[in-house]
Assembly symmetry: C2
Amino acid sequence: MAEHTGPGQVRPSRRALLARIGAVAGGAAMYQVMSALGVAAESAYASPIKLEGDPRGATVVILGAGLAGMVAAMELRKAGYRVQVLEYSDRPGGRCWSLRGGDRYTELGGETQTVSFDQDLYFNPGPWRIPYNHHAVLDYCKRLGVALEPFVQVNYNTLLHGRNAFGGRPQRYREINADYQGGIAELLAKATRQGKLDEMVSGQDQEILLESLRAWGALNADMTYAKSLLTSDRRGFARDPGGGLAARPVPSEPVALKDVLSSRLWSFLVAGSLYEFQTTMFQPVGGMDMIAKAMAREVDGLIRYNAKVTAIRQDDRGVMVTVQDAQRGDAPQEQVRADWCVCTIPLSVLSQIEMNVGGPMAAAIAAVPYAASAKVGLQFKRRFWEQDEHIYGGISYTDLPIRMISYPSASYGAAGKGVLLGAYTFGPYAYEFTALPAAERVRRAVEWGATLHPQYRDEFDGGVSVGWHRVPGALGCNGMWTDAKRAEHYDNLCALDGRIVLAGEHASYIPAWQEGTILSSLNAISRLHHRVVTA
Amino acid sequence: MAEHTGPGQVRPSRRALLARIGAVAGGAAMYQVMSALGVAAESAYASPIKLEGDPRGATVVILGAGLAGMVAAMELRKAGYRVQVLEYSDRPGGRCWSLRGGDRYTELGGETQTVSFDQDLYFNPGPWRIPYNHHAVLDYCKRLGVALEPFVQVNYNTLLHGRNAFGGRPQRYREINADYQGGIAELLAKATRQGKLDEMVSGQDQEILLESLRAWGALNADMTYAKSLLTSDRRGFARDPGGGLAARPVPSEPVALKDVLSSRLWSFLVAGSLYEFQTTMFQPVGGMDMIAKAMAREVDGLIRYNAKVTAIRQDDRGVMVTVQDAQRGDAPQEQVRADWCVCTIPLSVLSQIEMNVGGPMAAAIAAVPYAASAKVGLQFKRRFWEQDEHIYGGISYTDLPIRMISYPSASYGAAGKGVLLGAYTFGPYAYEFTALPAAERVRRAVEWGATLHPQYRDEFDGGVSVGWHRVPGALGCNGMWTDAKRAEHYDNLCALDGRIVLAGEHASYIPAWQEGTILSSLNAISRLHHRVVTA
């Protein structure tokens, strides 16, 4: 954000603040806010790509069958290219991935987890929600028939928890939200009425300001935020209204602003107003990998799985990719040739593969570290969060290392077991967490989560964990740009280098999101195609 | 709220404010806020009712097969009573009602509308959403197998429109929300830093306050809310970030606080923080009347439809209800006898029926006027709000008489036609609107709605309108209590009068909501049952 904020900005304080926002919105968002150039937003996608002109039988080898690779394969084939896709793993989708009962997952280091969830219950280790402004993802879902349902990001009845806040007792989102809003509205109203804003706000505007604060902050006629049915209609009641006799509601006692402030739970109120977390959000019905599966159906037969790329060489006639069976270390090396190459391999992996690109692209590939992140999916014998606590979807936040608990945005009210997201760590702790054995990660997620939900102890019924730095083929969550790195390397990373072009979330301004992945791919193949048809 | 606010409260200003809130939340909410005793909130329902003790074959006649009547029928039969239900109309559910393609509806005055919607498209003239804190409704849905899906109340991408705001150009919710929050955060931060809050807030709290305002309001390092990627990450971008080259986002220009204030669009920001409109809200999959239909299946055979009650007489041995076929004015009168009577007929109708209850209940029945409200459902040839404007569910607000446009919270991204709520008027205008011919109401809704969505003109494909004062058997939207009327009449309305007890939303502290209806019914039958088994 060098061009948008002055040099005088107070970095440490800013960092601290952003770390709090990160705690709300997830690792990706934290990075995005920290690196202002990476602030993610509404997609630049308007309509399906049109690649006009005849590629005259040109061949393309696409490296990686994640969303970037599969989008490239779909669209280039449609434009007349002969396409093949080489995928390191044994499934399509890359980080667009869901784990279901019976699935096995082997991480770097060799530990294998077998998922014990019930049928139809799943957990998304990677992307798990789709903003309304991610038009490309939504359009591909529509074109490919992927059914969507709302993902509940903000739920006023979820819990906000701080180890040092309110003696460690979780509060409800609605309580902290109402009391913070009411508290600052009252303060600003008082200052206004005492004439302290006279230099900043005209008299007429002051009147409207006061009126707005009263409505917005639930202030009483004397402009205070006080115990009343009015404020309880925001924060909740001590006794709820009912029907018939003895049904009269009893108001609850607000928390004083100074206690809300010192609790720091206000930091969790931001998420829902960030562009990528605003309503209406979506998730595919049945798991995020429904997108990957739908794309894989489209490019059926084009993908070669278990194909480990060990070298990428280009010359003025074409590209030669060396591959080996990923399941057998002693497998022979093979050569795959094509006229062009779209490489979607994460930079964390690509930086370890021999490739003869120019200095600028090589430097860019080497420059971008990958963010750490880990998730834990937990199954419980019953959906106690709904049955006991009336929490339907949404996210509870905590300053414990699990950071959040996200309740399923589907099958509301269902009997039987349920799976929730029991931890989504990022930042420094994610490295420590990822280093633990899988069972220990799950054990800690259960222990910490029980602080918010004591039912964890009786109802826990198995879990699975994914630390992204140990996911083969990914080796990290997402490319972690900084302003300085963007300025120096981003364009070099994206530019066509001879016959090779890179794509993926790392080659976008929407890092860690599927939208960035798809837009990066569309932009890359547009430029590649232009080169081909104008050559 | 007489006991919660002082006598010094400024009524006119308060009214004006609340009228604005009403414009946001709907007629019911307006009334609820205006009548503080009626402030609606989390339900007092904990678990299914248990009616213990043997009624020894006692008979009950229940008047009305809305939710109150059907809940009473289900639970009393389960408890051992012999039950019959008399219903004026030819369907169960009362105000819990959905109109679908092919349905015919004849209102008071004789005008009949035939609904021209496509199959599977519907419109709820009455209740249309279920708060997470309406536990009784949710529990009955669960017990009866009524599938629920999220109802999107707040959508950051919907429109806010004022005839005199921004030259009549609709703004996005996210823009007004971000700019209002940012504007007041900046003001309060400035006042704090200038020492103007020193008497109100301690030095340490001031530091945390500033930190919170910066995060919450998206303030820059110098504590201003200014054009930047940071603020665009709340309000939206001038050019969205993309992938690959030329993908850099461009920030948008915030609206100055004084312009937000004078636009009065801030008044539309309140809805989502009110207890009954907070996430997570629900709707039954396929229409609100799925609840009515599920209950009707439970009490199959107990309901006599087209039964118009003309008199209710009780003596010390029982209750005698005079009924007549509602379809034939010349039909003979019949007598239905029972030991007890649960009467759920709306007071608007009941006040016109001869009934020998005591003076206090009679006075209560006569005391409560009914709120006016009208809705219009509009079908369009395509879901242009999604396709053109990326609005998925949620509500756009306007100060035009239609008050709001609510987009369907289902079938996101579907091809084909769509039905939205094109008007939800209440207050004085609802009387005028209800007085118009149905086609004229629809025509006006289309004309006004086109101000927000010009696509209306080309895409309109038929509509239906319901003005509640013209709905036979209801004659209004809901009982309209005031504080004074509550104090004088509410307990008299609810108390068992001889062998008769009343139930319905009008006999609750959650007026106009199905939760009030059900809780009222459960409370009434509990007291009736207690009388029976202890007699």
